[in-house]
Amino acid sequence: MPPAAATNLGYKPPDGGWGWAVVFAAFISIGFSYAFPKSLTIYFKEIQEYFSVSYSEIAWVSSVMLASMYAGGPVSSMLVNRYGSRPVVMVGGLMVCTGMVLASFGTTIIHLYLCVGVIGGFGLAFNLQPALTIIGTYFQVKRPLANGLAMTGSPVVLSTLAPLNQFLFDSFGWRGSFLVLGSIVLNCCVAGALMRPVNKKAQSQPDNESPMSRGKASVEAASEDFSSPSANPLAEDIKNKSKCQSFVSRYIDLSLFTHRGFLIYLVGNVVMFFGFFAPIVFLAPYAKHQGTDEYSAALLLSIFALVDMFIRPVTGFIGNSKWIRPRIQYFFSFAVSYNGVCHLLCPLASGYGGLVVYAVFFGLAFGMLCALLFEVLMDLVGAHRFSSAVGLVTIIECGPVLLGPPISGALVDTFGDYKYMYYACGVFMLGPGIFLFIMHYYNYKKLDEEHRQRVTVEMRTSEEAVEFKMNPNEKTDNETQGETF
């Protein structure tokens, strides 16, 4: 009987070495995925005039790109499960490049929707998921730190792209800029090349052997073998199921929907995302509404981005510490609630100084949240199922992400005042924060219980195992069991 490995990865992740190069590669991929759609808004004004369309029609380009990026999650997960991270990221980079180059020759707005929106969006999806997944394969002990560092890519790339895009626009107009941006995005392929599949040694212990093929430099799909609840992954089991089910489960792990931790995460996140992006979108307009000039309003966003940039690795480092790591879910719940409190207090900020204070605290909150966003998911479902989990999560989050800003905008328009929108966003974040606190308290208790049960069972069965030495399972508070429910 195989031991209840916390990660059941079947190998020991290097936690360093080439892993840091992979973190850098993930930094670039994640940075482009999040920052690229936001940075394109600089061109919208001229494109709007060129095609003689209204502002909302041009804003659709961004929305389509974001929607494709989130909807492409499951597809991306399936491909990563099948082929590993490296090919998917390189294909993704090529896709975005192709999309941008085609768009630069576009003659109607529909061209832009298709090329930039759909093709570009899917390409970015093929960048995001694999980047997150590969961190989980390379890091175990230092994983929160690695995640925090990789997620820093988003604000850094955004701060780089924003002035660069302005420069390109002044030099080449929008068509030339799209062309050059296509080539810049191709650097994601370089990031993909760095994502060398992690080296896994063949196991000497037979029962720890997982049917994954062990090549020197190839990674086979892990989730197909670990999708079954028991810690005994056998490909034959899967083949015995119905053909349709096995086909799907080979590529994506739908049994995650019965995973308790995953469901908690999903419910909390879906509600939270309604209030996630809107405060950033409305920060500058709110400042202008209060009477500050355009330049100072833009400065607020820069302050926010700067604080965000620095707090993400710090959060990763804190999350890695031995006090936080075992109960990292509480840290995440705290971050979500802190966001909510920030928004609820925002209307109290008076004058420009108050807004600066708000921007700083919001930057702290947002950075903490983003740095932990995927780390806690990895913590809940384990690295081998993470790829499918993140695919499912992103496609479900697609809805709130797209609906959030328009709903907030509608709130602003109906009431004519920004404070109700901030109250709503605060509630949307504080509620899930508290929900996550309570549910994870319950979850941790259940996990400890199950762990204790399993330990006693294994103690009994370990007497039968004589060929290998097995250490008694230490108390695993930090990792939830991949196979528990």
């Binding site: 030339g176 050059v180 392929c189």
Partner: protein, 355 residues
């Protein structure tokens, strides 16, 4: 005789025309000035015995007319919009205190009474010579002796602004010591983009000129392209296949089809008002596709080189490892308990990675 002080009732009122999702504009203060008859007939009664009688026109009784006067936020620009323009109306503008200049924007021909009030320097002479200058040249018959009254010097003159040549810079000079000036002109456009608009050979380009919506609406718009010193008007009539103008109140768009490199240069747009046309320019730059293609190709080459380098490096390292692996025994087994401090790493069995 006393200089009557005009009282201004300021009412704020603005009709919301734009409802955008992202910005609920705060009510911007707009001044609606209602000048009532008593105030306006003041100009004919207020002749100071020490100043020359200047008013020759306003001796007629003028009836009550509403006038809308808009003032910019920094109070340096005032725009005069008459509802029922008559050349016989006289409007009055006063410069005093700290402001040393004022922009006056006019739409229609009108008579303006410009008044400068100066509190004097340290040694206040009882009387001082004052005169007016227009655009640097002294206005004829404008030299008067200004007497110090209630610690102030007042210099007033009525000017008839009938056409464009009457617009300009009107400076009132107190002796050799102090100057204030009014700039009379048609409403000016702000927001001029200083960088050129870039377009490509064979492509369409749209050039835009915008007048601030707080200022009065232009009657129409005109577009010009300068050929050396000549002004050549562009309109749909001159070349309908290439140019298309869309005038939309405060905004105008010039759509140029099938641009070529000869189309590069400055395009001047003019907002036409009754009194004059106010102009600004937009620059167009036409380039070929080769321009952005250069950075594109160079970055592409850089990416290919990096990817190839990384993959080759990896290939060579793995070959080296294989060579090592075939020498000594493969996969020696070590059983080591794995304990980590941070976070309580859990591992149940032994792993060894090949270094």
């Amino acid at each position: 005789m006393q200089q009557p002080h005009r009282r201004r009732d300021r009412l704020t009122q603005r009709t919301e025309e734009r409802t955008t999702m992202t910005a609920a504009w705060r009510q911007l203060p707009v001044l609606i000035l209602l000048i009532l008859a008593p105030c306006r007939t003041v100009s004919s009664k207020s002749v100071d015995p020490t100043t020359q009688p200047l008013v020759s026109i306003a001796s007629q009784p003028t009836d009550t007319r509403s006038v809308v006067l808009q003032e910019s936020v920094d109070q340096t620009t005032q725009t005069l919009v008459s509802i029922a323009p008559q050349p016989t109306d006289t409007r009055s503008f006063v410069l005093k205190g700290d402001t040393t200049f004022k922009n006056v924007e006019l739409l229609n021909p009108v008579n303006l009474s410009l008044e400068c009030v100066w509190t004097g320097s340290q040694n206040k002479q009882p009387s001082i010579t004052g005169y007016w200058r227009k655009d640097g040249a002294e206005v004829q018959d404008s030299r008067v002796t200004v007497n110090l009254k209630e610690q102030q010097y007042n210099l007033t003159k009525v000017f008839s602004i009938a056409s464009e040549e009457n617009l300009g810079n009107y400076t009132c000079v107190f002796g050799n010591e102090f100057e204030m000036y009014f700039i009379l002109g048609a409403p000016q456009m702000g927001e001029i983009r200083d960088k050129p608009i870039v377009s490509y050979v064979g492509d369409i380009v749209v050039l835009i000129c915008k007048m601030d919506e707080k200022k009065p609406k232009p009657n129409t718009w005109t577009w010009y392209k300068f050929n050396g010193t000549d002004r050549e008007e562009i309109s749909a009539a001159t070349d309908p296949h290439r140019y298309l103008t869309i005038n939309d109140g405060w905004k105008t768009k010039l759509k140029v089809k099938n641009v070529s490199e000869a189309d590069s240069g400055l395009y001047h747009c003019g907002a036409v008002y009754n009194i004059s046309t106010s102009m600004t320019h937009v620059e167009l730059k036409v380039i070929t596709i080769m321009e952005p293609l250069k950075p594109f190709i160079s970055i592409l080459i850089e990416v290919i080189i990096l990817v190839a380098a990384i993959l080759i490096y990896e290939r060579s390292r793995s070959k080296k490892k294989e060579a090592e692996a075939n020498g000594p025994n493969a996969e020696p087994k070590n059983a080591q308990p794995q304990t980590e401090d941070n976070g309580g790493e859990k591992s149940s069995s032994v792993r060894q990675r090949k270094a």
